[in-house]
């Protein structure tokens, strides 16, 4: 995901890359829960069950969050390649 065009990774690097990929996925999941709960749930908690509106909102929020994550990830790699990103970090 964040392989900035390096040549031939070693197998240790591959394992590290997979590990990071998993971390990225797990973190994305946690963040999605946080962001979409904030966007979609009624905070008064007068009801314990999700309303139909909340459920639909969550589904759409999940899809949009995933799409945004992909777009941003792709853009960062492109910009990163162009500007030599990572230096400033």
């Amino acid at each position: 995901m964040f392989g900035f065009g390096r040549p031939q990774p070693t197998s240790a690097e591959k394992i590290a890359a997979i590990e990071n990929e998993l971390k990225v996925v797990a973190e994305m999941h946690s963040r999605m829960i946080k962001v979409c709960s904030a966007k979609c749930l009624d905070k008064t908690y007068r009801e314990g069950e999700l309303s139909k509106g909340e459920a639909v909102c969550l589904d759409r929020c999940a899809a949009k969050f995933f799409e945004a994550h992909q777009i941003i990830s792709d853009q960062l790699q492109k910009e990163g390649a162009a500007r030599g990103f990572g230096g400033g970090m």
Binding site: L22, K23, V25, A26, E27, M28, H29, S30, M32, I33, K34, C36, S37, L41, K43, T44, Y45, R46, E47, G48, E49, L50, E54, A55, L58, D59, A62, A63, F66, Q70
Partner: protein, 76 residues
């Protein structure tokens, strides 16, 4: 892997506690939770769990779809 899952669970659980406490408890004239507060917390937990389960399903679907798409691109 196991360790990562525990860590993710703790983040999600911790956020749930913060979130439900923040949403349901605002009265500090007593040091014991009122019936209204425990009720609110209980409903908040149920709703949060349903939310997590639902988002978990969506996440798995979206992730599977993306992985399939990427593999197709690579095999071309």
């Amino acid at each position: 892997l196991q360790k990562r899952q525990v860590k993710e669970f703790m983040t999600v659980f911790g956020n749930l506690v913060d979130n439900c406490f923040n949403a349901c408890v605002d009265d500090f004239t007593s040091k014991v939770l009122s019936g209204r507060e425990t009720g609110c917390i209980s409903r908040c937990v149920i709703k949060s769990m349903t939310t997590q389960a639902r988002l978990g399903e969506r996440f798995a679907e979206l992730n599977a779809a993306m992985t399939a798409e990427m593999q197709q691109k690579m095999s071309r």
